[in-house]
Subunit: 498 residues, 4 copies
Amino acid sequence: MSVLEETKASATESTLMTGEQYEESLRKLNLKIYLQGELVTNPVDHPIIRPSMNSVKMTYELAQDPQYTDLMTAKSHLTGKTVNRFCHLHQSTEDLVKKVKMQRLLGQKTAACFQRCVGMDAINAVDSTTFEMDQKLGTNYHERFQNFLLKMQENDWTVDGAMTDPKGDRGLSPSKQTDPDMYVHVVEKRADGIVVRGAKAHQTGAINSHQILVMPTISMTAEDADYAVAFVAPSDAEGIYYIYGRQSCDTRKLEGGSIDVGNKKFGGHEALMVFDNVFIPWENVLMCGEYEFSGVLVERFAGYHRQSYGGCKVGVGDVLIGAAALAADYNGAAKASHVKDKLIEMMHLNETLYACGISCSAEGSKTASGTYLINMLLANVCKQNVTRFPYEIARLAEDIAGGLMVTMPSEKDLHSPEIGKIVEKYFQGVASVPTEQRMRVLRLIENLTLGTAAVGYRTESMHGAGSPQAQRIMISRQGNLAAKKELAKNIAGIEEKK
Amino acid sequence: MSVLEETKASATESTLMTGEQYEESLRKLNLKIYLQGELVTNPVDHPIIRPSMNSVKMTYELAQDPQYTDLMTAKSHLTGKTVNRFCHLHQSTEDLVKKVKMQRLLGQKTAACFQRCVGMDAINAVDSTTFEMDQKLGTNYHERFQNFLLKMQENDWTVDGAMTDPKGDRGLSPSKQTDPDMYVHVVEKRADGIVVRGAKAHQTGAINSHQILVMPTISMTAEDADYAVAFVAPSDAEGIYYIYGRQSCDTRKLEGGSIDVGNKKFGGHEALMVFDNVFIPWENVLMCGEYEFSGVLVERFAGYHRQSYGGCKVGVGDVLIGAAALAADYNGAAKASHVKDKLIEMMHLNETLYACGISCSAEGSKTASGTYLINMLLANVCKQNVTRFPYEIARLAEDIAGGLMVTMPSEKDLHSPEIGKIVEKYFQGVASVPTEQRMRVLRLIENLTLGTAAVGYRTESMHGAGSPQAQRIMISRQGNLAAKKELAKNIAGIEEKK
Amino acid sequence: MSVLEETKASATESTLMTGEQYEESLRKLNLKIYLQGELVTNPVDHPIIRPSMNSVKMTYELAQDPQYTDLMTAKSHLTGKTVNRFCHLHQSTEDLVKKVKMQRLLGQKTAACFQRCVGMDAINAVDSTTFEMDQKLGTNYHERFQNFLLKMQENDWTVDGAMTDPKGDRGLSPSKQTDPDMYVHVVEKRADGIVVRGAKAHQTGAINSHQILVMPTISMTAEDADYAVAFVAPSDAEGIYYIYGRQSCDTRKLEGGSIDVGNKKFGGHEALMVFDNVFIPWENVLMCGEYEFSGVLVERFAGYHRQSYGGCKVGVGDVLIGAAALAADYNGAAKASHVKDKLIEMMHLNETLYACGISCSAEGSKTASGTYLINMLLANVCKQNVTRFPYEIARLAEDIAGGLMVTMPSEKDLHSPEIGKIVEKYFQGVASVPTEQRMRVLRLIENLTLGTAAVGYRTESMHGAGSPQAQRIMISRQGNLAAKKELAKNIAGIEEKK
Amino acid sequence: MSVLEETKASATESTLMTGEQYEESLRKLNLKIYLQGELVTNPVDHPIIRPSMNSVKMTYELAQDPQYTDLMTAKSHLTGKTVNRFCHLHQSTEDLVKKVKMQRLLGQKTAACFQRCVGMDAINAVDSTTFEMDQKLGTNYHERFQNFLLKMQENDWTVDGAMTDPKGDRGLSPSKQTDPDMYVHVVEKRADGIVVRGAKAHQTGAINSHQILVMPTISMTAEDADYAVAFVAPSDAEGIYYIYGRQSCDTRKLEGGSIDVGNKKFGGHEALMVFDNVFIPWENVLMCGEYEFSGVLVERFAGYHRQSYGGCKVGVGDVLIGAAALAADYNGAAKASHVKDKLIEMMHLNETLYACGISCSAEGSKTASGTYLINMLLANVCKQNVTRFPYEIARLAEDIAGGLMVTMPSEKDLHSPEIGKIVEKYFQGVASVPTEQRMRVLRLIENLTLGTAAVGYRTESMHGAGSPQAQRIMISRQGNLAAKKELAKNIAGIEEKK
């Protein structure tokens, strides 16, 4: 029996882990993580890391909830089993649309980055790309990939789709950098596999992942062939370690309270993932020197991930809009026409992002491997808007919230026996709402506009899945300006001499 | 045999008229039209009106073109015959998406308003509304409507969906106006029908229509019951006459040239349609006093029409973007990075509108009558963006076009034996492009940003299908702010005492 | 006695012409003007040209009005006589500020381009530039210029400051163009003067000017020395002729009414000014080959003219805002909170432009010749905002005006014995306001957003005094980014190794 | 001798304190401050508070620097002595302009809020208001105020101008609040003075002030007369205490490093200032029941403070722009045209704010007391732009900075013996720039966009000196819409019947 047949034949009809099982599975990993200069012994329970784990865990928990089955799970096209949608290859435009809706749901439930999208987007991009590589070059990467995918689905893995290299000097190509390791590259090819060195930066959710799927980060030419490398590896493989990125207000999570953190339960993280001469057996290698396919792989991963932002950031936006509306309720300003109008504007902008996420999905199309790809033009348009509208939504939220959001004392003051009553007295808004509730909602808005979640809602809306200029280049390529010129000539009555 | 059975049994499999047949059919109408204070004897050949007729004609011509069959035609759910999509009730979300694509196509081919959408949007709104009226009230409006629809499909009619009343004082309801005729209303109920009086303003394409389908324009209450009236009538019925609206640069069409008009072939129009005690037989009455359904009818027509703008204006935008790119080519500025970036921005904005049009279609749903309705929130978001982005696209087009667009002499100067050579000489851009071509493309941009087509591309993007504030009210209603507040409370840890 | 002494000694204390005298002085000119392919015999009374003459005439009329003396006139620094401020060299920052206020006033009174600024801006730029040329090169251009200025002040001339060449291929320098005449250049140097050929495009107010002051249009290098030429000439000099630029809705002025034109009395114009081997005596030559000074002359003229827009367009904006407010009054929508808020936004944007105009004036400084120059960074910032905000103000005006602005019938319909009553009836807004008034204000808004005045309020706000990219280049040069980096290093604690 | 005569006669010609003297003077205060629930014993050296003190200290240090004498100091109109400009009443529009330039300078030097403006703005507002009160009501508040001002100038005090009350339910007036203390009010009038209770929120720099000048926060009516109270008091008066507001990333200052804080030396703060039955002797009372003057006092203070933002935020913007430019230099992206264009846009927006600050100053006018007031319309326009442009500048800074700004590890990682080298290696940009420098500049950008300084650069730009809607109301009042309507009627030819 092939791996596939064996897997199909296995007893279960569903491969879903519970949240608890996911948490336990992470405890078994042997990750090497540095945070604030120290090696972390128990990442799962570390107060700074924990909220990000909770967000990923939510992707497991909601998949167990019958009301979300349709969005959170799918039937594997390989085995027919029920798998978490994050482990699924999109088999239709309906699948693409459901992906976006799932992401909006999770954004609403976590008000944070739930991190698991990078793996989903990576497998979908790698699937069609390796299929086409094999067709053209006679390689067998697609089979290797499918074997990995089967294991991923069977084990309900969270996978870190790792693309972005540190890049060093932006004006130089990988092989022209002063330090050859600024992009992940093959340092040795052996009979049993390859050895890689380098790093991947900004790795979202890396610490909460079972496996990593490494891809090149830019389109490459022959001279950069050693940098055209893709592979999978366990997240705790020998030679891999992590340096945890710090976020605005990250240490508030060490203070022990529940108000000032804004979002006590959920968060996100990024890390630098270092490959210190890591050995990858051939069966896990998915590209090795086929530089001409690096561009298409990057474009597709980026395209899927730009679609993703039309779901997840919309969900977070829903929470921020709700929080702003509550803040207005709590200080008696909800009926002011300018407040109502600002809330409408926030909803309008947020739904425009959603419209973009939905449309690039509904307009998706089938690739040669059978996996569905989003409409690339609309996916880039989606992300381009994401680099703008969350900033405006955040600005409007700060407008409605009022200055108190940034001048309020700490929750320790609220709970102080000495001055707690004074804090309660003077920060009361409408008489019927306890001051603590008002503080909670203002801290949530602070969290999303200035704090740990602002990293996700603002800066990563800007740079995640590619910085704004990357989308503009794609829009330029996909916009078919030549055809538009022909339309204009027809209308204007311009006939060119041949 | 019922009307339906008879119709099904008729010989043809397709009911499509050719463009020529359409033009001929118009000549047979006996419309009473005033233009510049004069009664127009032959509207079809009137140089000011003709271009708007050509735009509607294009909806017939493209339906004959095999490459556009899928977008331009549909299978009637009543008879199974092939009908023009403008006569079709949407039977699926796929139909809704195809509608938007058809509209973008026609916008690209005409760079103008092709006018026939109002009828399509009206029949789709009236279908589900009359169905629900009958279900609730025991009336038989839906059957009457279906009989009309059959004839519309059989005859491939262009129908004017007429909604907007003059409204008089915006601060007063219909029955409170000083002049009772500021909204169309029933002045007499007879055994054989009703007599109506009033007017519909801003009637797009009225002069090019075979029939009109009149609907109320706002949500009404009991005291306005006489104003809650809907019906169909031939466009040349006794007592109906039209006053043609003038447009910026309309009289350039009387000058006889082909350059200064910008778009020689195509245009659009609006007119005031006056009902001077018009008799409507009962079989053509579709609402008469059921004020509680006026709101839903308005919302649905407006919703469909707000979706429409996510197609047609995008098509016109394609032409304008192409024209701007040509203008840059023609004066040697195409390689400037700021010009390229502006073109990208124009495409980005235009595709954002398209994304909104597609998404509200893909997220459509089935009504009780079986006809599909767009997602109302997203359709309103779509139109709200249409009130903004075409203005910015136009501004960028003017930026790229350069000042010459508004300081250029007339084509009579270009063709003057005395100074034609001088015009040619000094308005040459890059040496390889004839000055005439440059003038043509600049006049096209002028047409779309300042001229006759600016009426459609700018002001009607603003007010067509409802002014911006109307969409904001709908977004407020549909945005479910209460649910968003609950999301925020969950994240912030706010528990309210019961 | 020198020219100056003679002039001082002349009897009058004021050199101001009345409006009537101005009109008469134009009748004496022998201008050769083509319009719509025909030679115009009497430009002053031509219905298309006349409104633009009226705007210039207003600069004479208001100077006669005691309440505006302070803004409209100044004391000549040469003769001590009272001169029209348009003939004055700015002697202080107070003068610069008054210039802007005069322009706002005239914008308010004409709702159009009053054209005379180009001459004022040209003399101020030429004064300091020729002074510095003479100092460095030992030429005597400044004396020649002063002699011209004396005559200009004595005769209260309107002068066309002519800068913009047709430019042909934007990718090529003057001497590299296929046609050598795409920039004005010296074709012959003679003992008594020079002969020039070429053209100046987009010449604002050329037809209403007594004299022209020609300047080069770009910074030049040695190979373009023949193109570095500046001079003065009578507007009707031998070999000069004009081709009148057409504007949106220009022919409405031929229709004979007073409503549809929007602004019956005032307008603006641009023309192509052709130099067909024109002889210029040396005493009128102000630059001839000194290419190294072409850049500074361009920058200063552009700088003054960019300041101007912070006055004139603000005045026009005042009229548009007032018109939008009236439109809301007339249809009963004035109390809607969204209408009030849009009017506030329009005022906010308009005053921001004014703030820029004032600030670059108040921050002006003295040049070597004694004439005051605006702050160049702020003047460019001013104009950059002018390329944006009038578009948004216009968009908001169209929003408030409603669709009727572009669907309304002509005034011939209003005055028709047959249907005039119907037009009156159905286009009535609030009952107390005659329909004609409503039509008038809507036509004024149309005029400013789509019609003849939109050419000035929109497209020329974009391109007049240099297209947006020209300002960005200047902002980049003047913004002192290096100093800003040092500030950042100080704060960030970055110490660079030497 | 009067107080004034005595003061004039005192020996010194300058009253300026050094920075050290200022610091020492603060140590002598006996302030009662709560921070994170604890009473602070030594605020001057508290690591969270200290940077804000350093910012105020800079206002003393720069006044000692000869190159800044003109901006930082002024000649007292009372004594003729040289005083710090922060203690000066504006005697001319030149003074108003210099104020703005001083603020830009301090923003550049601190990249933070330097807090001392509130006192300067308060004394200028109180001066003219008390003068007018006395004139109208026969009170003697102005003399009391002048005595205070003399002491302020003599002692070179930093004064907290305290206006904003907690406000409770925004829908209710002061006397209608459930808790009567939501606005500061008089609880007892005694022969020797008054007793006040309540609190002032968002008190900028309160902890670094010698004195406080309390003003009412809104326009009031007779029923709120007890709330119409203004007075001065020592900042450590009996019954006054402070609760320190927490800021994003505030506790990074406790970590001991110099990189992650972004701006090691400077900062700002706000605090709640509580009045727990504080006794104010009559000589310090400046308003007590004269409710009809509360509105004008609020308007003037707000007006001056809205002007201020056109200086200070521009200076901070200069630093942010410089930091973004450095970030681009450090990663090799500085030559990309889109990066250059974004920097231009940032400068353009920043200078637009400056233009507004300058213009409202240059257009200032003399009040009855002789003190100059800014142009109120332009000052409100200035602040309205400040609620928008810093957000866009920050967004563009984040765009240029790249995602690393929020994914970078801590400086403890950089300095770790174990992984420091790895951090250095992989976060290197261009080879010539040490990684530490790159981290420093990215942390500075983080500080200004998300961290402690974002509180000042973003949220306080929004709400300081009044929230956006407050400016809109003032623009509406000051914009003279009625005059604009008249302009429009004149142009449109509308004549109303009398």
